[in-house]
C-alpha cells in the first residue's frame, strides 16, 4: 500500500477534511510556516486560502476560545498549538467551557472542535518546550484525548476527531513525524476510544501511548528474542481509553506494564493501573509497572536529556521485572 510519513498523513487528513467539509477551518500559530508544524500543514494555506487556514497572533487563550465559539456556532475548527506547553494559556476555555458545555446545557450545546497540539521535546530545548501534558486533560470529563503513534492512525484519528461532535484533543509527537507506514488514499476513521493490538502475546500485556507505542515495537522484538511473549496494545485514545481491550488482554496475561512518556505521578498510566487493580485484581499475577518520565522537568544538556527520556530499554527492564 502507499507509504506516507506521519507528518504527511496528518497533512493529508487536514487537506481532505478541508475539501470534504466547508465547516472545517484551521487556526493557530505557525500554520503558514513549516518551522512549527514541520510538513504536517505544509502549504495548506496556499491550497485552501488564508481564510480557512489562518496563522494567528500570539493569543492562545482567545484563539482557542474563538475556535470553541465557532464550533458552538456550527463550524468544525481545528485549533493548532505548535507546542503543548503553550496551550497551558488556553486551559481555561478548554476545561471550563469546551469540556462542560454539552453537560451544563443538557445536551443542547455541543463543541465539535479539535484542539491539536504537538509534543515537541528534546534537542536541548528544556523544561518549557518539552512537556507531555495529556495527563492533565485525561482527568477532565467532557474531553476526548487521542494520541496516534502511526501514520495510519494519525490520519484516521484526525478525521474521526473532526467528525466527532465533542471537543477532542489531538496530540501528535514531533519525534514521529518522519516514521512511514501504510496510509490509504481515501478518507477513513480510526474510531476514538478503541485501542489496537500491535502484537499478540500471552506472557505480559504492554499498554503504550503515542511515541512509546512506537518505541515498544523494538522492545517487544528484543523481548521475543529473550523468549518473552508480549501482547502490545497501542492505546491510541487515552480518554476514554479502551477498557474492554486492556481488560481482556490482562485477563489473559495476568501481567501489565504501561509505557507513557509523561511524568510518573498521576496521568494516564496511573489511571490505567488503578482501574485494572480495582476491577481486575484477581486476574493479576504481578505488580503493575509504569514506564514513565521521572518526576522532574526536562533538562537541556544532552547528557541529562539522555538520562531523562525513556525508550525501549526501560520497557524491556520493566517487563522482565513483572515476570520475576
Amino acid at each position: 500500500m502507499r507509504q506516507l510519513t506521519y507528518a504527511q498523513a496528518i497533512r493529508e487528513a487536514h487537506a481532505q477534511l478541508l475539501r470534504e467539509d466547508s465547516r472545517v477551518f484551521i487556526c493557530g500559530q505557525g500554520v503558514w510556516n513549516p518551522w512549527y508544524a514541520g510538513k504536517s500543514l505544509l502549504d495548506l494555506d496556499k491550497e485552501f486560502g488564508r481564510d480557512r487556514v489562518l496563522d494567528c497572533p500570539v493569543s492562545e487563550n482567545a484563539t482557542t476560545a474563538a475556535g470553541i465559539g465557532a464550533a458552538i456556532a456550527g463550524m468544525r475548527p481545528i485549533v493548532f498549538h505548535a507546542r503543548m506547553d503553550f496551550m497551558l494559556l488556553a486551559v481555561d476555555p478548554i476545561i471550563n467551557q469546551a469540556a462542560n458545555w454539552s453537560y451544563l446545557f443538557g445536551g443542547q450545546g455541543s463543541v465539535p472542535i479539535v484542539i491539536r497540539c504537538v509534543i515537541n521535546r528534546g534537542g536541548e530545548q528544556g523544561a518549557q518546550h518539552s512537556q507531555a501534558l495529556h495527563g492533565l486533560f485525561t482527568h477532565v470529563p467532557g474531553l476526548k484525548v487521542v494520541m496516534p503513534s502511526t501514520p495510519y492512525d494519525a490520519k484516521g484519528l484526525l478525521i474521526a476527531s473532526v467528525r466527532d461532535r465533542n471537543p477532542v484533543l489531538y496530540i501528535d509527537d514531533r519525534w514521529l513525524y518522519d516514521d512511514s507506514g501504510d496510509v490509504p488514499e481515501e478518507t477513513y476513521e480510526v474510531p476514538i476510544g478503541k485501542a489496537a493490538v500491535r502484537r499478540q502475546g500471552k506472557d505480559v500485556t504492554l499498554a503504550a501511548t503515542s511515541f512509546m507505542a512506537a518505541e515498544a515495537i523494538q522492545a517487544v522484538e528484543t523481548l521475543a528474542g529473550l523468549g518473552v511473549d508480549v501482547e502490545l496494545i497501542d492505546l491510541r485514545t487515552v480518554k476514554p481509553w479502551d477498557r474492554d481491550l486492556v481488560f481482556s488482554s490482562v485477563g489473559k496475561t495476568g501481567r501489565l506494564v504501561i509505557a507513557d512518556a509523561a511524568w510518573h505521578s498521576g496521568g494516564v498510566a496511573a489511571d490505567v493501573a488503578a482501574t485494572v487493580t480495582g476491577e481486575l485484581f484477581h486476574a493479576l499475577k504481578a505488580p503493575i509497572l509504569r514506564v514513565c518520565l521521572p518526576d522532574a522537568p526536562a533538562p537541556t544538556s544532552a547528557v541529562l536529556e539522555r538520562a531523562y527520556f525513556i525508550g525501549p530499554g526501560d520497557i524491556v527492564a520493566a517487563v522482565q521485572k513483572v515476570l520475576h
Binding site: P57, A66, A70, M75, L104, F105, G106, G109, R163
Partner: protein, 328 residues
C-alpha cells in the same frame, strides 16, 4: 440626536415591554429567593435593563448573543422562553438547560441565545468565534458578547478585540459598565475610567453610551450591527449603568457602605423605565396601555412560575447524560 423616523410607537412600546418583562421577572425572582424557593445563585440586572433591551432590539432572530453570570435580562430580551428561565432557576427538567445549569447557565438556541456562563469574560472570545463562523459562512449573522466592566480586566478581553478587529468579525462587544466588580469599585481596579478607549487601541470604533437610555443604546447598537453586517468589523459599546441590587441575590447591598448609598441615590432617578415611559407619553402613548401591558406581563410571569413549580425535577438516573454529545 435621535433619528425620529425610527421611533415608531411599536418600537418604543416594544422596548418598554422588554424592559418591564425583565424588571418584573427579576423582582419576582428576588421574591422567590427570599422565600427560599430558589437556591441557585442569581445575579439580578435590575437597573440595567435598557442595555439588554436596546441591543437585542437591534438584532435579528438569526443573530446570536452570549452572556455571563448576570444574564436573565439578555436571555429575555433576545426572546428566550420565560417558562424555561423560571423552570431552570427552580431546577426543573423543563428548564432551558434541563436543570443542569441554573441561573448562571442559560441557553435558548432557537432564538439565538447561544449560552451564558459565569466565568467572567468567558463569552467574549466565544462570541468572536461565532462571528468568525458567520464570516466564513457569509451568513450575515452578527454575534453579541455581553459582559461587565470587570471582564475587561481579563487578558482575553484584549486578545479577543484584537482578533475580531484584525479579521473584521461581525461582533458587538457590549460592556455593561456598572462600576463594580462584586464589591470592588472601578477606581480600585484600573487607573482610568476609560474602558471605551480599548476600542481605539485595537483598531475598532468605541462608543460610550448612557446605558440607562434605551433609545441611545438601541441607536448605537443599530449602527454597530450595520457596520458588522457590512463587513466593516466589530464595535465596542461601553454602556454606563448601575447595579441596584447586591452583586448576587436580592439584597439592596447597602452593606458595602456609604459610597454605594450615595451612588444609588444618584442612580435610582435614572431608572430607564420611567425615562422611556415619559418619552412614550410625549409621543402620544396612552397611560392605560401601560396598565394593560403590566397586567399582561405579570400574568405571563405568574404563569411561568406556575409552570416551573408544576414541572418535575430531573431524574437522578439521568445524572450522567450529556457529558458527551451525540457520537460519543
Amino acid at each position: 440626536m435621535y433619528d425620529d423616523r425610527t421611533w415608531a410607537m411599536e418600537l418604543l412600546t416594544g422596548l418598554y415591554r422588554t424592559m418591564l418583562l425583565i424588571r418584573l421577572t427579576e423582582e419576582r425572582i428576588a421574591a422567590l429567593i427570599e422565600a427560599k424557593e430558589i437556591k441557585t445563585p442569581c445575579h439580578l440586572c435590575i437597573g440595567q435593563e435598557a442595555i439588554a433591551a436596546g441591543v437585542c432590539a437591534a438584532l435579528d432572530g438569526q443573530d446570536s448573543i452570549w452572556g455571563g453570570h448576570r444574564s436573565h435580562g439578555h436571555y429575555l430580551a433576545k426572546g428566550g422562553d420565560l417558562n424555561g428561565l423560571l423552570a431552570e432557576i427552580l431546577g426543573k427538567t423543563t428548564g432551558c438547560s434541563t436543570g443542569r445549569g441554573g441561573s448562571m447557565h442559560l441557553i435558548d438556541t432557537a432564538v439565538g441565545v447561544m449560552g451564558t456562563v459565569p466565568l467572567v469574560g468567558a463569552t467574549i472570545p466565544l462570541a468572536a468565534g461565532a462571528a468568525w463562523a458567520s464570516k466564513l459562512r457569509g451568513d450575515g449573522r452578527v454575534a453579541v458578547a455581553f459582559f461587565g466592566d470587570g471582564a475587561t480586566e481579563e487578558g482575553h478581553f484584549h486578545e479577543s478585540l484584537n482578533l475580531a478587529s484584525l479579521y473584521r468579525l461581525p461582533v458587538l462587544f457590549v460592556c455593561e459598565n456598572n462600576f463594580y466588580s462584586t464589591h470592588m469599585p472601578l477606581a480600585e481596579r484600573r487607573p482610568k475610567d476609560n474602558i471605551v478607549q480599548s476600542a481605539d487601541l485595537h483598531g475598532m470604533p468605541g462608543v460610550r453610551v448612557d446605558g440607562n437610555d434605551v433609545m441611545e443604546v438601541y441607536e448605537s447598537a443599530r449602527a454597530a450591527v450595520k457596520r458588522a453586517r457590512d463587513g466593516q468589523g466589530p464595535t465596542l459599546l461601553e454602556c454606563r449603568t448601575y447595579r441596584w441590587r447586591g452583586h448576587v441575590g436580592p439584597a439592596w447591598d447597602l452593606d458595602v457602605g456609604e459610597q454605594r448609598r450615595r451612588e444609588l441615590e444618584e442612580w435610582l432617578p435614572k431608572d430607564p423605565l420611567p425615562r422611556l415611559r415619559r418619552r412614550i407619553v410625549e409621543a402620544g402613548g396612552r397611560l392605560d396601555e401601560f396598565d394593560t401591558m403590566e397586567q399582561e406581563v405579570r400574568a405571563d410571569i405568574e404563569a411561568a412560575v406556575r409552570f416551573a413549580r408544576d414541572s418535575p425535577t430531573p431524574d437522578p438516573s439521568e445524572l450522567l447524560q450529556h457529558v458527551y454529545g451525540p457520537r460519543g
